[in-house]
């Protein structure tokens, strides 16, 4: 039964969880190497949280198997709980208690005696820059502070495996960068981190391997490089001076880059999705080629930018539908893009 020797922190096979008639997780296979940050990337409702909750022993899978450090998550749930920590999507601390009380409470539940529990709580609050807020009830904390106290609560005992379920959703960029620093510090000490996120750049910044999950299934898995190669190198966004030149510009771009070109709702805007299949050029080289092709064609470009592949683009490339479509089709503020694909 023990798969300890494989060096995997998590190993799942055919994990399924159904709620009512919906298969929230529909046969997920994961192999997470120990000591790394593993990113699980997907839109809302893809089944990320359900997967994490099963692995953290909070939900029982309907079928399939999962082992955490070789321990079966159902039959050996207690062993699993001894080695993992969970930071949920919503603050997993008691909002009515103060920062200090929360950490002391949890330290006591982990078996620390009172004086060491207090010391550990004070040290963590200090390291997380929360000393000033230590005596305040968590319900008065800002979003960034909540995430910090939440992560602090997860590392009272340094866990072997830390689940971070969308740790930066709803945070401002500065708080987000600080959470990233914390994650890097945690993994540098040997803890394995399973990170779920909706943001490709977050997975890009932190994870060494990424699984893309959609509608309960893993639709792509690999290193960052492999995944990006499968998706394309990014996009060139252009704004022309003359809307009348747009059809010609689209045509030139398509020929110069062998790429899909989209016209945007804005009559002067164009986006070309780069592919790595167009030779071994970097995205910048391809962009340069595109610009010179347009210049030769006599087209005036007002504005130009080179974008990383977005999660939307990853999804479009991998599934043929965008992230808004599956279960949260509420966002209609952006017009669907007209495909001008070749």
């Amino acid at each position: 039964m023990s798969t300890q020797t494989s060096g995997l922190a998590i190993e799942t096979a055919g994990l399924v969880k159904t709620f009512g008639g919906t298969r929230a997780v529909d046969g997920v296979d994961l192999a997470v190497p120990a000591g790394t940050v593993y990113g699980v990337l997907g839109p809302n409702g893809a089944g990320k949280t359900t997967t994490v909750r099963m692995l953290a022993t909070l939900l029982r899978p309907d079928s399939g198997e999962a082992h955490v450090f070789g321990h079966d998550i159902v039959r050996e749930a207690d062993e699993v709980r001894g080695r993992v920590s969970l930071t949920g999507q919503y603050a997993s601390v008691d909002e009515d208690l103060t920062g200090t009380e929360n950490l002391v409470l949890l330290a006591r539940l982990l078996g620390h005696r009172k004086p060491p529990a207090r010391t550990r709580a004070a040290q963590l609050l200090e390291a997380f820059g929360l000393t000033d807020a230590a005596g305040k009830q968590v319900k008065h904390y800002s979003g960034g502070m909540r995430r910090r106290i939440d992560i602090a609560a997860s590392i009272l005992n340094t866990p072997d495996l830390l689940f971070l379920d969308e740790p930066t959703t709803g945070l401002d960029p500065r708080s987000r960068n600080q959470v990233w620093d914390i994650v890097r510090a945690v993994v540098a000490q040997g803890t394995t981190v399973l990170l779920t996120t909706q943001y490709l750049d977050e997975a890009d910044q932190l994870a060494s391997r990424i699984a893309v999950i959609d509608r309960g299934k893993v639709i792509a898995e690999g290193t960052k490089g492999e995944l990006k190669a499968s998706v394309g190198a990014g996009s060139v966004h252009l704004r022309l001076r003359d809307p009348g030149q747009r059809p010609l510009a689209a045509d030139l771009l398509r020929r110069a880059l062998d790429a899909q070109v989209q016209t945007e709702a804005d009559p002067v805007a164009l986006t070309a999705r780069l592919t790595t299949a167009a030779g071994n050029d970097t995205a910048a080289e391809q962009a340069a080629r595109a610009l010179s092709a347009l210049a030769r064609g006599g087209i005036t470009v007002d504005n130009f930018s080179l974008g990383q592949p977005s999660l939307d683009e990853v999804f479009l490339a991998l599934t043929g539908h965008d992230t808004q479509q599956p279960r949260s089709g509420s966002d209609t503020s952006r017009d669907p893009k007209d495909e001008v694909a070749a």
Binding site: R81, E95, D96, L109, F128, H140, Y141, M145, G170, I182
Partner: protein, 282 residues
């Protein structure tokens, strides 16, 4: 993310990753806490919540005072000739009735608390599983003790005299608190089973009113019709009220105490496992 945000993240001190790294160097983990120690820690959590929101003690102070005053003066003249004479009979009973009624709030607080993210953390800890629920009930035991002391004080002001002395009163209250702890497992079950706070409240009322009123708290059951006597004489609340009444009067009603302990054991044995099953499945 939240409407109660009052502190801007702009003024947040930076994260100190160097000291964080030091803290993360894995030390040997302490041994897991015992079942009792984990339960006590959750009891401490309940007490901290009372400290932060003292208004929640309203139901163990104002409500019991109201109960004593209301029933003493409402029924006293008619049932015993005068309120002063009636309270000698009523006080232990109304004490039992009020505290058993107050146990009902356990279900509501479990129901609202369980939806919060912190329960995910509790449930992913390697601790004795029932300790979360036992902790609630330990915190509640403190509330029941407060209610008992408040009612006894009001009763003594109105003329109640406990012939059993301090010892009789203490054992009586201890028995009441113990029974309430055991009885509360019904509420933890409903708190986990029902979906909304309101439905928990509704079901609780349906259970608690017949159970407390159909007892010997207000009057001697011999005045009741036979079919009702059959229910009342076998109700756990009647056994408890008789036991507490006897203890406070200086007797040792061994039968009634045994019945009360038996019922307490039964409540824990039946509703404890159901509660834990629901808790694990939530």
């Amino acid at each position: 993310m939240s409407t109660t945000t009052t502190t801007e993240s702009g003024e947040l001190a930076p994260v100190r990753t160097d000291s964080l790294a030091e803290l993360l160097v894995a030390e040997e983990r302490p041994p897991r806490p015992s079942a009792w120690s984990a339960s006590l820690t959750f009891g401490w959590r309940a007490i901290l919540k009372i400290k932060h929101v003292p208004e929640q003690l309203f139901d163990v102070t104002a409500f019991p005072i109201m109960m004593v005053l209301m029933y003493t003066y409402l029924f006293g003249g008619a049932l015993a000739g005068s309120p002063k004479e009636y309270i000698q009979f009523l006080l232990p009973g109304i004490l039992v009735m009020s505290v058993v009624m107050i146990t009902m709030y356990t279900g509501v607080s479990v129901n609202t608390d369980i939806e919060k993210g912190v329960f995910d953390r509790f449930r992913s800890l390697p601790i004795w599983r029932p300790s979360t629920m036992v902790g609630y009930l330990l915190g509640d035991a403190l509330r029941y003790t407060i209610a008992s002391v408040v009612m006894l004080t009001v009763g003594m002001i109105l003329g109640y005299r406990a012939d059993g002395g301090v010892a009789g009163v203490l054992v009586g209250i201890a028995l009441l608190v113990l029974f309430s702890f055991a009885f509360s497992w019904i509420w933890t079950m409903f708190g986990l089973m029902l979906r909304t706070e309101k439905s928990v409240m509704g079901v609780s009322m349906m259970v608690i009113f017949p159970l407390t009123f159909l007892s010997n708290v207000f009057v001697d059951p011999r005045t009741m019709p036979g079919w009702l006597q059959a229910f009342v004489n076998n109700s756990p609340v009647t056994h408890l009220a008789s036991a507490v009444r006897g203890l406070m009067a200086g007797d040792w009603p061994a039968d009634e105490i045994a019945w009360t302990l038996g019922w307490s054991g039964l409540f824990v044995a039946v509703f404890g496992p159901i509660t834990m099953r629901l808790y694990n499945r939530k």
